[in-house]
Amino acid sequence: MARLKVIRPGMLTTVQDLGRQGWGYLGVSQQGALDPYALRWANRLAGNGSRAAALEITLLGPTLEVLEACFGGFAGAELGLKVNGEPWPAGTSRGLEAGDTLFFGPPKDGMRAYLAFAGGVQGEELLGSRSTDLPSRVGGFAGRALRAGDIVTVGVLAGNPAVAPVPTAILGNRVRLLAGPRDGLFAPDALHRLTSGPYLVTSHSDRVGMRLSGPEILGAPGGILSEGTPLGGVEIPPSGQPIVLLQGRGSVGGYPILATVISADIPVLAQIRPGSSLSFEEVSRDVARQARREMERSLDLGLRPLR
């Protein structure tokens, strides 16, 4: 096993994989990478299967010192990653030597990036996942975000430096959604108001959800008897200001969900910074199906050798 020492932890650096699937009926939160598209690319670049865990980096990245040689894949937003001062672009992989320093300068675009290592990032595995569940304080690295002085353990496998054939972050300020499940509980113009946007993504956003500020959705029922919450669900609390539910959401909730972001646009949500605008477009199931198919097709494209 190879190790990396955390010199500075960055804004919020956690161990994440594709999340805890299938335990919602016990009240267990899904968790996992907020941008599963970028995570899957990082793992492919590192030579891993899709189930391996990686470091999820949020806007301001950590400083890491490599203690033993290893091989890494980096994907997602361009958050200014450098190795010993030399840029390491998103969508590429490379070998790392003992003594190398990974440092994140000013972020260029997007919000989240993933550092994967051949052989995976080690961490506490619970219910089939190494994802960190921050509210429950379990999983990943001691159930919490990385801190200065932590030692992260990764695999020691070597690999061939490569580059992804497409951008590994999908950036935009417009996401597509399907009406429902609870649009029937709202006034007939509620969905129209939601798509009339734009909304501001407020600084109260986190891994649980993106809290928005913009056109109020009026006349929403104050609360409903708790029911399961879909990923990307746009819930409307009594304030009328929507919250878009992300992977860190609770498995059930008590606010009605007016519409749900399509699965192909979940990675777009993960890359939108607080303070930016976000607008919604209602689409059909066919459009959602086609968009997802295109995303899966893109993830199947072969890597190109680096030089």
């Binding site: 009240g27 008897l225 029911e227 399961g228 919450t229 879909p230 990923l231 498995s251 969900i257």
Partner: protein
Amino acid sequence: METPGRPGEAFAQVLDAGDEAFLLIFGERLDPEVNARVQAFADALRSAGIRGLRDVVPGYLSLLVTYDAATRDGDELREELVAVRPATGTIRPPRHHEIPVCYGGAYGPDLEDVATQTGLSPEEVVRLHAGRDYRVYCLGFSPGFPYAAELPRALRLPRRPTPRLKVPQGSVGIAGLQTGIYPLETSGGWHLLGRTPLAIFDWTASRPARILPGDSISFRPIGEEEFLRLEAAERQGAPRG
């Protein structure tokens, strides 16, 4: 209303919840009978061997069914869901759990306040809370947290105006018509009447949740001495009740 054997009649509606989930609606009002049908259908779905299903999450009146849109076509899956026959009688018989609770004092910091707000004595609050069986409609908020109902009318209060940042593990709370148990130390806005020494959720156990949706619970008042004794026994891994 339900005619067993006829497709799609276990639930009233299938609603789209994005392109990776359906919300099956079984009823509109709080009703133990509706929730029993939710749980029976959840059991039937889990054992139906449907390809590409990710999770089956019961709510009070509904079931969220999530799937992997990369491997399953939503329209085909919807047809399969409609064709699933609800189990006649639940596959897993519901269990009853008697939960020992040390009420009041440091264990239940809101007991006095609840008594004041409801115009009852603290003893009456405990007698009413502990004096009946509750149905566990679903789990959520935090791993293993049982949403149980219905609380006696005299005890129904809105949530606390400001949630606590730290509610100790095992705290037993009430809000509206619900009562519940905090399995882990988390934040929380319910009125805290007492604490149980029992472990409600164990991440590493083969069956992590002590209480499952569809089960019933009741509360048994205990003193501090018994609380400490049971807590020590739980730490040593006493067999699950």
